[in-house]
């Protein structure tokens, strides 16, 4: 067993874990943050996308011990009690159907817009290339991210 300490959404967590414990299971079962989902076994679907020190990663392709000392952000930590502008945009543009891919999509979008506040459609599509959505055919998600970029630029937020 290994002792790990991480900060998730600004809160400190510490646990003894088996080294083989996957980070996604740590987040879901030890930290009980279930907005991070599992949709495949092989790192292809992106439902488990989490920000690791600000960068999107697939938490099913990481061991919890690898995240020791890291700062993680999950969907639950994106906006406190209100909604982030990306979340608003996802509602406005009907970018959510079953919701299973949504947390990962939103985190990928968040990382994109932080690095690139004015993305082209192609850049948006590339930013969510690692996130599968089985419901929407992506168009409304792409539109939502573009819409969020505009509202964020207008309000000067990042």
């Amino acid at each position: 067993m290994h002792r790990i300490a991480v900060r998730i959404n600004g809160k400190a967590y510490g646990h003894e874990v088996e080294p083989r414990l996957l980070l996604v299971h740590y987040i879901r079962e030890k930290a009980r943050l279930t907005g991070t989902h599992v949709g495949c076994d092989t790192g292809n679907c992106g439902a488990c996308t989490t920000l690791l020190n600000g960068q999107p990663v697939k938490s099913c392709l990481m061991l919890a011990v690898q995240a020791n000392g890291a700062e993680l952000t999950t969907i639950e930590g994106l906006a406190g009690n209100g909604l982030h502008q990306i979340q608003e945009a996802f509602l406005d543009k009907f970018a959510v159907q079953c919701g299973y891919c949504t947390p990962g999509m939103i985190l990928s979008a968040y990382a994109l817009l932080k690095a690139n506040p004015k993305p082209e459609e192609g850049e948006i599509r590339e930013a969510i290339e690692g996130n599968l959505c089985m419901c929407t055919g992506y168009q409304q998600i792409v539109d939502a991210i573009g819409h969020a970029a505009r509202t964020m630029r207008m309000s000067g937020s990042r």
């Binding site: 088996e18 083989r20 414990l21 879901r28 009980r32 943050l33 279930t34 907005g35 991070t36 989902h37 599992v38 949709g39 495949c40 076994d41 092989t42 292809n44 679907c45 439902a47 999950t74 969907i75 639950e76 906006a79 909604l83 979340q87 996802f90 509602l91 406005d92 543009k93 009907f94 959510v96 159907q97 079953c98 919701g99 299973y100 891919c101 949504t102 947390p103 939103i106 459609e121 192609g122 948006i124 599509r125 590339e126 969510i128 290339e129 996130n131 599968l132 959505c133 089985m134 419901c135 929407t136 055919g137 992506y138 168009q139 409304q140 998600i141 792409v142």
Partner: protein
């Protein structure tokens, strides 16, 4: 269809793209899917067959059982002792199958042993300690393998590997053939694919010892049928099972087949005296979840020289794999769309369901209709070329005309409304059809191969259950219906419960829009839990989310229950205000006197009278303000072979795809995609558009990327999303969606199917576009998928994809 001006007291919400604020939990990561439920559970893992066809000689579970942390190890034999066999729905030959493998394995991935352990890590460790001895049998992978004379029988008791073989004629097919000037005939091969919801199957089962009853949480798509099946198989009374369906991460039909695993989980819960949880892995989902069957279809059109289609013959052979519950359905459901959008007077159908050692099949998005429309719309293009007509003109000449509605197809399917020519005209104009044909020629001179393809398709909704019975008397289920409870809470807000579940369609918002306009309030005041609880939710055998039934019978039940509540509110208000009910109107959460709006009573006050100050109720009125209603589609007729009447609403769409083919690499790029959709009245265009595009991408995935590939031993080679390729955000075009609105006369709001259309119409549109692009090479598309390799081979060698 109701008079909407009479039904609605406001017209503010229905028809508008109202935001899905009811579903805000999904945005916040606060949804509760089964695996999110906080519960102490034992965890289940399955050992699955590594052979496609083998006798089970011996299973040694002793080492696994001895592993510390393992709570139970159960084999198929153990399960069979405590359960009844699966009851098939459509097949006509006897076949006995249990929920786990007994004596024999029939596909790679069939569950052999279930392990329950303290956590999923230990459960998977235990699987490695189980020893199975197999005696391999000859695997039957493809249809041809199973139909060979010397083929072993997969179910010996059936006496054949064809579990259903029907020949059915409707209309005067002989006459059609006599009158025809020419015939076009082609054979098509369709592959296996699946719409793969992003959330895999997940179940928690708990056994309440005191009551000897089970509580199950599962992302089940059709709880109405599942509860019946599970109780029957376990031999328990209905009161012995409470099924709860929380949030579900997509369904697309694939979650209709979870119930056999519910049976297993119940047994495991009873045995371990623990809540037990199984969350399917993606590998399990692809290997042993469910697929759409692969198929071989022969189709012939009997034509007049002017392009009119007089008759259609089809021989449809489905590789239904090895799940007898739904085998045969893909064949029989084809009657829903057999003649597509066309006025074809006679049909002849030979439908064959073949059992093989491929994995199970179930009703994947569109169920057989994608296949039917694919072959039909390919044939219309082929026939058009043969008679020298433009494919669009060929379609115009054969369309069922708006004036023919309601139109009965030869087999008795009633198309209740639709304007097919208008949809095609609109699509031609949006896609720039004429200009494109010129541009195509110019591009060809530059060595670039562009093509345009269209398809016109019927998108049926609301299954008339039981359509699949051909021999064994009247089926257990008939027609279609749903139940709803609508109540006004103490605070005057409205609460809805539905017998259905939500797989992501936004039922809560759509329902809120309808109820809001019926009561004159803001949709924010209407809440609806989309979580189903079989103990509480209004419930029928039909309950569930499938065959686009929501906007027909589900909303029908909501409307009928809301009407009952509304009538009661009016009576209470009339009594309270001393005004005739007929003179009252709804206004912003109040009921007031039309002649003097100052005389009014708020919903909250009405609720107070109904629930608390019950002595103020009118004489003889029951307290409470909550009403239940069940609503059935009025057009359904009992099933018969003469009159299939498979589905009860019929949306339609035209898909127009423009593609460019790189003839050196075989890559197909979609450069433009137009969808013209007619689903009658739209309640929420934002949701409708999402489903139109989303379902189209399922079809695009099936045509360009996805395929379950089996080797000759029946091993599935595409068992992860690394090899089973789903469409990504990159590589898809922007979709242009337009609507024609032909309200459906047989649903209350004029709504029709939404949700499967794109998965039906897109296959042929793309195939026709690719064939058009490759016309200079004389390439014919007779199979799916259209992979780059097949394109290159067709261009360079075979001339056929």
């Amino acid at each position: 269809m109701l008079n909407l001006d009479e039904l609605f007291v406001t017209r503010k919400w229905v028809g508008k793209p109202v935001r899905r604020d009811q579903d805000i939990r999904f945005i916040r990561g606060e949804a509760t899917y089964v695996d999110d439920l906080e519960m102490e559970c034992g965890h289940v893992a399955f050992l699955r067959s590594i052979y496609a066809h083998a006798r089970i000689k011996r299973i040694d579970t002793s080492k696994a059982a001895a592993l510390s942390g393992v709570l139970a190890v159960v084999t198929g034999e153990d399960v069979a002792r405590e359960t009844r066999p699966i009851v098939p729905r459509a097949i006509t030959r006897p076949a006995t199958q249990y929920v786990m493998a007994v004596e024999k394995v029939r596909y790679v991935g069939e569950p052999l042993v279930a392990v329950v352990a303290e956590d999923r890590y230990l459960a998977e460790d235990a699987l490695e300690l189980i020893d199975v001895e197999y005696e391999p049998l000859r695997p039957l992978v493809e249809i041809e393998d199973a139909l060979r004379e010397d083929a072993p029988l997969i179910f010996e008791e059936a006496g054949s590997n064809e579990l259903l073989h029907e020949k059915l004629e409707h209309g005067n097919i002989e006459a059609a053939y006599r009158e025809a000037d020419l015939f076009v005939k082609e054979r098509f091969r369709l592959h296996r694919y699946s719409s793969t919801p992003l959330e895999n199957w997940a179940i928690i089962a708990k056994h309440e010892k005191g009551d000897d009853a089970f509580v199950v949480w599962a992302n089940d798509q059709q709880p109405g049928r599942s509860t019946t099946n599970v109780c029957n198989m376990l031999g328990i009374p209905n009161s012995g099972l409470r099924l709860i369906v929380p949030d579900s991460g997509g369904g697309f039909g694939i979650k209709l087949a979870i119930w056999p695993y519910i049976v297993i989980l119940c047994l495991l819960a009873r045995r371990t005296d623990r809540a037990v949880k199984w969350v399917q892995t993606r590998r399990e989902h692809l290997l042993a979840g469910t697929h759409a069957p692969d198929a071989r279809v022969e189709i012939e059109l009997a034509l007049r020289r002017d392009g009119r289609i007089l008759g259609l013959s089809i021989k449809d052979i489905q590789n239904d794999g090895s799940f007898i519950h739904t085998a045969g359905i893909y064949g029989l459901i084809k009657f829903a769309t057999m003649v597509g959008c066309y006025d074809i007077g006679a049909t002849r159908a030979e439908l064959v369901s073949v059992v093989t050692n491929k994995g199970p099949t179930v009703q994947n998005r569109g169920v057989g209709k994608p296949t039917m429309i694919f072959v039909l719309e390919r044939m219309v293009d082929i026939a058009a070329r043969r008679v020298g007509l433009d494919p669009a003109e060929m379609r115009f000449r054969n369309f069922v005309q708006p004036g023919q509605m309601p139109y009965s197809t030869p087999s008795g399917e009633i198309y209740e409304s639709g304007n097919y020519p208008e949809c095609l005209r609109k699509a031609l104009s949006l896609s720039g059809y004429e200009e494109f044909r010129k541009r195509k020629e110019e591009m060809r001179e530059q060595g670039r191969y562009l093509g345009i393809g269209m398809s016109a398709s019927i998108e049926p909704g609301t299954s008339n259950l039981g359509y699949y019975y051909t021999h064994r008397g009247l089926p257990e289920y008939m027609g279609n219906a749903e139940g709803a409870i609508v109540g006004v809470d103490y605070d005057g807000n409205v609460n809805v419960l539905l017998g259905s579940v939500d797989e992501g369609q936004g039922h809560a918002t759509t329902t809120a829009q309808v109820v809001a306009d019926m009561l004159g309030i803001d949709p924010g005041r209407v809440s609806m839990s989309t979580h189903l609880d079989s103990l509480i939710s209004p419930f029928l055998g039909h309950s569930g989310c499938y065959s686009n039934k929501f906007n027909d019978v589900d909303l029908g039940a909501v409307i009928m229950a809301t009407k009952k509540v509304r009538d009661k509110m009016l009576r209470i208000a009339s009594h309270a205000l001393g005004v005739e009910a007929g003179e009252l109107t709804f206004r912003n959460g109040e009921i007031c006197w039309a002649k003097d709006e100052r005389r009014s009573i708020a919903f909250k006050e009405i609720a107070t009278v109904a629930y608390k100050k019950i002595l103020l109720l009118p004489e003889g009125m029951e307290p409470g303000l909550k009403e239940i209603a069940y609503y059935k589609n009025p057009a359904a007729k009992p099933p018969s072979k003469a009159n299939f009447n498979v589905q009860l609403t019929h949306s339609n769409s035209v898909h127009m795809a423009t593609v460019e083919v790189d003839v050196d690499t075989g890559a197909v790029t979609i450069v433009k995609y137009v969808i013209v959709h007619d689903c009658g009245t739209q309640i929420n265009p934002g949701i409708v558009e999402g489903m139109a595009i989303g379902s189209t991408v399922h079809g695009i995935g099936a045509v360009l990327y996805e395929e379950f590939v089996y080797d000759e031993n029946g091993q599935l080679l595409s068992t992860s999303f690394m090899d089973y390729l789903k469409p990504l955000a990159v590589g898809l075009p922007r979709f242009e969606v337009a609507h024609v609105e032909s309200p459906c006369p047989t649903t209350l709001l004029g709504t029709k199917a939404v949700g499967e259309g794109g998965a039906i119409g897109s296959l042929a549109a793309l195939a026709n576009a690719v064939e058009d692009a490759l016309a200079p090479f004389g390439v014919k598309v007779t199979s799916l998928p259209i992979t780059p390799e097949k394109v290159v081979r067709a261009v360079r060698e075979t001339g056929e994809i």
